[in-house]
């Protein structure tokens, strides 16, 4: 079955087709949820919510643009929605920090470790870092999505980078302690 047919059937609330769609995209979308969420359980919750939103809004998808991109946007928005509802954005310190180039030299760092340190970032740093670095949103878009200023978005990104750099550097010094 082509993706188009699958989407068509999903629009008709065909449970079987929905299952197929889930099989196709759940792994990819779950990775997004993992990056954007604080932990695994939260990521699962987000994935669930994201798919429910996807199935309820799939009739709004007009075959314009990549379907996967559409799915990703919904997933990201679902996660953001959760944090908007939790009002976690306020707690972040707004100190403006210079955008410094940070260099690291790691290849043997495990992805699980990286995911772990992302998840440990303060909520907004994590979101901004993910949006900007992983999903290539502009600061303008991020500012709109998180309802913050562009400057705040930039400074949050810088803070996130610094924290991550520090953590990775520490990891490099004592790799044994962090092996997963």
């Amino acid at each position: 079955m082509s993706l188009e047919q699958l989407i068509k059937k999903c629009k008709k609330n065909d449970t079987k087709a929905q299952g197929e769609l889930y099989k196709l995209f759940s792994s990819k979308l779950f990775s997004i949820c993992l990056k954007y969420s604080r932990n695994y359980v939260e990521a699962e919750d987000n994935l669930q919510d994201a798919f429910l939103t996807i199935f309820s809004k799939i009739d709004q998808y007009k075959n314009k643009g990549a379907f996967e991109g559409w799915l990703k946007r919904i997933t990201v928005n679902t996660v953001l929605q959760r944090y908007r509802n939790e009002k976690v954005f306020k707690i972040v310190n707004e100190n403006n920090i210079e955008d410094v180039e940070i260099e690291t030299d790691e290849d043997h760092i495990s992805i699980d470790y990286l995911l772990q340190i992302i998840q440990k970032l303060p909520d907004r740093y994590r979101l901004v870092f993910n949006l900007y670095v992983m999903d290539e949103y502009s600061h303008k878009d991020i500012a709109e999505m998180l309802k913050i200023s562009v400057g705040t978005s930039k400074s949050n990104l810088a803070r996130a980078r610094q924290i991550l750099k520090k953590t990775v550097e520490n990891y490099n010094q004592k790799p044994n302690l962090h092996s997963l």
Binding site: N13, T15, Q18, G19, Y22, S26, S27, K28, F30, S31, L34, K35, E44, L47, Q48, F51, L52, F55, S56, E101, I102, E103, T104, D105, E106, D107, I109, I111, L114, L115, I118, F129, V133, M134, R161, L164, K165, V168
Partner: protein
């Protein structure tokens, strides 16, 4: 130490093809929520869809039955298959192997009895096939004999064949037993309990095995097989303990009620009718004038015709309405019509007339009609005056035309081939025309319009309906109904209590 990298690159490269398979429980959660949503969302539309389907079915059925009914004559020569009834007494069940309690009753319907349409035959054959299949399953389970199962299925197949070929018909009652109720208890599959026997004594339970099995078996299976079959059945019945019998009995009760309701599935009926109607008054009196109170009256027989529709509220109770055209007419006899010969006599005569009349009734005025003719009651007319006038004895004829809209309840006292019903209700009568005239010297002379007739009046109706069932769909109805009129006239004199009696006859078409 490797190459130096921008922190962004590090993450981008690592997460480039990052995919994690979520736990299977996630999907089941999502699925459950989706289904829940779907249910809620679809609840109303599905209801609408079903209602629509039901409406279409109803329409199609009602049209279909009318057409099918016309084919009926072609199937009237079909035979009714011999039915074998196996009676098993409760107390003899444990040792029924000897067929002691198995008796054959062959019911032959020669003609006309519950003649049903081909579709019914097909349906019933399908049902029988189903029940046979179920029966074969049971016997298989119970006796774990594969051979028997095969034989059963063979026989059931031939049964259906025989059914369709010979266009054999079951007794209508048996046909009506709803198959859907059967799967509830598998035992009941094999049991068709005879109604009458059941009522007569609870201990006697008549079990009718599948009719066609027994008949066609003898043709298709050899005798040993047949005996085996019977034994299997008996074995099966042996295994039915008393509790399951009770279940069967209760099941059967529900089947019976279903049966009854199914018989009267034709809830609607339309009856075009025609009736001779006789109009008269119960008490002495006149609708025209007090002077005619003691005059003899004769009612006339006129016609009423129209169409009625009835709807069965329950098995016995029907509500019906319709529209009828009613013509009534009525004569007031012994009146004198006179014409004044010349103008000079006129006033004197009238004076004298009024003076003589005043002794008896009071002020009496002659009723004027066309062409200078006056009409009076003969009793108040002084015969000595007749010399002055050219007079003649005649009568006043009043005729009414009504549009009648009845609303009646019909309760069935007897529901056999000839049904007896009690009918009660009321009618609204709308006056459509009124005429009063006298025939004088062979000429009809109109009386001046009296305006004491109400445009709208009512009647209380009581009657008996005799309905003869010609076929499943057609009834011949004969309904003598008495209708007591209320509020027909204003200012009537004496005890003028008009009524009319009609014997309504017509063919009712049920659907």
């Amino acid at each position: 130490m490797g190459d130096k990298k921008h922190i962004d690159r590090l993450f981008q490269e690592h997460f480039k093809d990052f995919e994690v398979k979520p736990d299977a429980a996630i999907w089941s959660n999502i699925e459950a929520k989706l289904l829940n949503k779907k249910k809620k969302r679809r609840l109303i539309p599905i209801w609408w869809r079903y209602a629509g389907v039901a409406a279409i079915l109803l329409l199609a059925l009602s049209i279909g039955t009318i057409f099918i009914n016309t084919n009926k004559s072609t199937t009237t020569n079909s035979k009714i298959v011999d039915t074998k009834v196996i009676e098993i007494k409760n107390d003899t069940i444990p040792n029924t192997k000897k067929h002691n309690s198995i008796s054959r009753t062959v019911i032959k319907h020669k003609h006309g009895v519950s003649v049903d349409t081909l579709t019914n035959i097909k349906k019933s054959s399908q049902r029988i096939y189903k029940t046979n299949r179920a029966a074969s399953k049971i016997s298989n389970n119970r006796n774990s004999r594969a051979t028997i199962k095969n034989k059963n299925s063979i026989s059931s197949k031939t049964n259906t064949l025989a059914v369709s070929q010979k266009s054999t018909i079951l007794k209508s009652k048996i046909e009506k037993i709803d198959n859907s109720a059967i799967p509830k208890t598998s035992i009941v599959n094999n049991l068709n309990l005879d109604k009458k026997q059941f009522i007569k004594s609870d201990t006697l339970i008549t079990v009718q095995n599948n009719k066609f099995v027994s008949n066609t078996q003898s043709k298709t299976l050899n005798k040993s097989n047949q005996i085996k079959e019977k034994q299997n059945r008996v074995n099966l019945l042996n295994k039915i303990d008393s509790t399951s019998m009770e279940v069967a009995i209760t099941e059967h009760k529900s089947l019976l009620t279903q049966e009854d309701t199914k018989v009267s599935t034709n809830k609607w009926s339309i009856t075009p009718n025609i009736a001779p109607v006789y109009f008269n008054s119960l008490g002495k009196g006149s609708s025209i004038d007090a002077q005619f109170n003691n005059n003899t009256t004769t009612g006339e027989v006129n016609m009423s015709y129209g169409i009625n529709a009835s709807y069965a509220l329950s098995k016995k109770l029907k509500v019906r309405s319709g529209i009828n055209r009613v013509n009534l007419s009525y004569n007031t006899n012994n009146v004198i019509a006179f014409s004044i010969i010349n103008a000079s006599v006129n006033s004197a005569t009238l004076n004298r007339l009024s003076s003589t009349a005043s002794d008896n009734i009071g002020e009496i005025k002659a009723i004027t009609a066309e062409n200078g003719i006056s009409i009076m009651s003969a009793s108040s007319f002084n015969s000595s005056d007749s010399a002055l006038l050219s007079s003649s004895n005649t009568s006043i004829n009043q005729s009414f035309g009504f549009i009648e809209i009845p609303l009646e309840l019909q309760y069935a006292v007897l529901t056999r081939r000839v049904g007896v019903n009690i009918i009660g209700g009321f009618s609204s009568l709308f006056l459509s025309n009124y005429n009063a005239f006298s025939s004088i010297n062979g000429q009809q002379t109109r009386l001046q319009e009296t305006d004491n007739i109400n445009n709208t009046s009512y009647s209380a109706n009581v009657g008996i309906g005799i309905h003869y069932k010609i076929s499943k769909m057609i009834n011949f109805n004969l309904e003598p109904i008495f209708k007591y009129q209320i509020n027909t006239f204003r200012n009537t004199s004496g005890e003028f209590q008009p009524f009319f009696v009609g014997v309504y006859s017509g063919f009712g078409i049920r659907f």
